[in-house]
């Protein structure tokens, strides 16, 4: 071992950060469009993980198809959840607290549902992308390279959808001024439904990338979601760029932090920084002040 390799730490940080960014961008997307915080985001991540596991182990499909199935299943579940639960709350004059409560309840429900159905055990998965690369002393398993590439592609796709498609125009218009978007003929309930689906599919994508590294269990979504909360506070809720930047920054802070602080205290520091950031800049570290 070469003790302290700053390049390795940076690369590791970017790998972890790209996944935080994926999680955070989903949370930010929902916040930006629907002004709600999804406390069940981590459980959709979990659904992605289990779907990947069963697709690979039970159906024995090609990994790419398995990832696709994970995204699709989670997207559809998200759409259904939005339609059956969130819709009622989002149309109320007071929706912030009720949506928090409902997603919290959903989170508890989904976790314990998974616990009853699949058991508490950790389900392990083989790396989807094999091989280990060594570049200038930096060790890079193929899976981790794939993670960064997938994240970049995912962001490019989401960004292009927002920027160029008709649906993207509808999302942005709805998020900036819902009542006026209606006057354009934009069907905001449909926008909400699809946005929710896309958001949780991003969580599932992160899960399908990370499940082989960690493992699949009912609580697998908890940590990533809390991390994503930190990221959205860094980046400012509602900002895609902020989520990406915040994710990578958190990833690097954490990986470099290992060299300084023992790992079990890392999260304490991360959460403390989060509270500090909120204290100093309630709108987020990189976020613009909302008017």
């Amino acid at each position: 071992m070469h003790g302290f390799n700053i390049a390795q730490l940076l690369v590791d940080g970017i790998v972890a950060g790209s996944m935080y960014a994926l999680m955070a961008s989903g949370i930010s997307l929902i916040w930006g469009t629907m002004r709600m915080l999804n406390f069940a985001h981590g459980e959709f991540y979990m659904i992605g993980g289990y779907t990947l596991f069963f697709a690979l182990v039970a159906l024995k499909v090609h990994p790419v198809i398995a990832v696709g199935l994970g995204l699709l299943a989670t997207f559809m579940l998200g759409v259904v959840v939005e339609r059956l639960i969130m819709r009622w709350l989002l149309l109320r004059a007071e929706w912030e607290m009720p949506t928090l409560v409902a997603t919290l309840g959903l989170s508890v429900f989904m976790q314990n549902f998974a616990l009853r159905t699949f058991g508490a055990g950790d389900l392990g998965l083989p790396y989807v992308v094999p091989g280990v690369f060594r570049i200038a002393g930096v060790v890079l398993p193929g899976q981790r390279i794939a993670i960064v590439l997938v994240a970049i592609v995912a962001f490019a796709v989401v960004w292009s959808i927002l920027r160029y498609t008709k649906f993207g125009v509808a999302i942005r218009a709805t998020s900036q001024d819902r009542d006026t978007a209606v006057l354009m003929g934009i069907d905001f309930p449909k926008v909400y439904m699809l946005t929710f689906g896309i958001s949780v599919a991003l969580a599932a994508l992160a899960a399908t990338m990370l499940a082989p590294i960690y493992s699949v269990n009912p609580w697998m979504g908890q940590r990533p979601m809390l991390k994503a909360f930190i990221v959205v506070v860094f980046g400012g809720l509602g900002s895609l760029e902020g989520a990406i930047l915040g994710g990578v920054v958190l990833g690097i802070i954490e990986s470099v932090g290992v060299a300084v602080v023992s790992s079990e205290w890392q999260d304490v520091i991360a959460f403390a920084i989060l509270i500090l950031v909120l204290w100093v800049r309630p709108q987020g570290l990189f976020g613009a002040k909302e008017s």
Binding site: R92, E96, M97, V101, G105, D177, R178, L226, I275, L278
Partner: protein, 336 residues
């Protein structure tokens, strides 16, 4: 509610509650009753900040856990009276309430408040997890002394009855405090804060000062409940008292009873604790039920059981539903 009528109602309820142990058979039923009372204190104290104060926090379990661990550790290691240790634990929780309350007060918007308070609770839980020398982490802090004897009355794990009365006293104190605060000029100010922070500020209400007060009181009560809990169950693990599951239970209780009402959270705590004991055969499905219940209640009965009479009345007179808005109705203005 007028203070006098609130106090009368509390007094009547207390008399009935004091008779409960006489009617109960078996140690186990009484044990459930003690837990129900402790959770009622938690729900009622959370209601102070979230229901009356309008700040929907997600970290109330932190104060409960702080009160529990601090009191347990002091009593174990310093051998001081448990009442003194509970007081110190309460003070810890109160200080923590101010420490987290100050940044939270600057936040506008439920999501940031939720995230900040949740992060705080996670910090407390991680510390309890990590300080294994002191807390033994998830393997559990055992051997916590029961409450110190008062005169001839002694406390032991074998007998829940004395604990029942202790918990009842704590609950009554909590409710009287809540009623008193709400009837005071401070309480009126909170009404103004809840209706509109800007309006409250413009009429010269010192919003920040009152909210800090609310946070202090609420976290102190939760800490005291934690201390009592520690010396009652005599075993603590971080996940059992500092986990988000505890918060979920508190929210469910307060919401089912009715947020922002004096008796709502207490009624909710009793219904859920007792109700779920009756559904014990469900075993591990209990938490699933809690989750589902939260979702259903927030959709169907957003104001909890306290709104039931109103809902029934409006259904009977066929007035437009309280739930109101299909999206075809006038679209409410949202902040862009």
């Amino acid at each position: 509610m007028k203070l006098k009528s609130a106090l009368i109602q509390i007094a009547i309820a207390t008399v009935f509650a004091a008779l409960v142990p006489l009617m109960m058979h078996g140690e186990y039923a009484l044990h459930v009753a003690v837990l129900a009372l402790i959770f009622a204190v938690l729900a009622a104290s959370w209601n102070l900040v979230s229901g009356y104060g309008g700040m929907f926090t997600f970290g109330h379990q932190a104060f409960f856990g702080l009160g529990a661990y601090v009191s347990a550790l002091l009593a174990m290691h310093l051998g001081i009276s448990t009442y003194l240790s509970i007081m110190i634990g309460t003070a810890f929780a109160m200080v923590a309430g101010v420490v987290i309350g100050l940044p939270v007060l600057r936040l506008r918007g439920a999501p940031y408040i939720a995230i900040a308070t949740l992060a705080f609770a996670e910090i407390v839980k991680l510390i309890a997890d990590n300080l294994t020398n002191l807390t033994h982490g998830e393997s559990g802090l055992a051997g916590i002394p029961p409450l110190s004897p008062i005169g001839a009355m002694s406390f032991s794990i074998a007998d829940s009855r004395p604990y029942y009365y202790c918990a009842l006293i704590l609950l009554v104190v909590t409710m009287v405090l809540v009623a008193a605060v709400m009837a005071s000029p401070i309480g009126l100010a909170f009404g103004a804060i809840r209706d509109s922070q800007d309006a409250a500020e413009s009429i010269g209400v010192d919003v920040t000062k009152y909210k800090v007060l609310l946070f202090m009181l609420s976290s102190a009560l939760a800490g005291m409940a934690g201390g009592l809990f520690a010396h009652y169950v005599t075993v603590l693990t971080p996940s059992s008292i500092l986990g988000i599951d505890v918060m979920v239970q508190i929210i469910a209780m307060a919401l089912i009873g009715g947020l922002g009402t004096l008796f709502g959270p207490v009624v909710g705590a009793i219904i859920l604790t007792v109700g779920l004991e009756l559904l014990r055969s469900l075993g591990d499905y209990q938490l699933m039920l809690y989750g589902a219940l939260l979702v259903v209640v927030i959709i169907v009965l957003p104001r909890g059981l306290s709104s039931l009479p109103m809902l029934i009345a409006s259904a009977a007179t066929k007035q437009s539903s309280i739930r109101g808005s299909s999206w075809k109705h006038p679209i409410k203005q949202r902040e862009p």
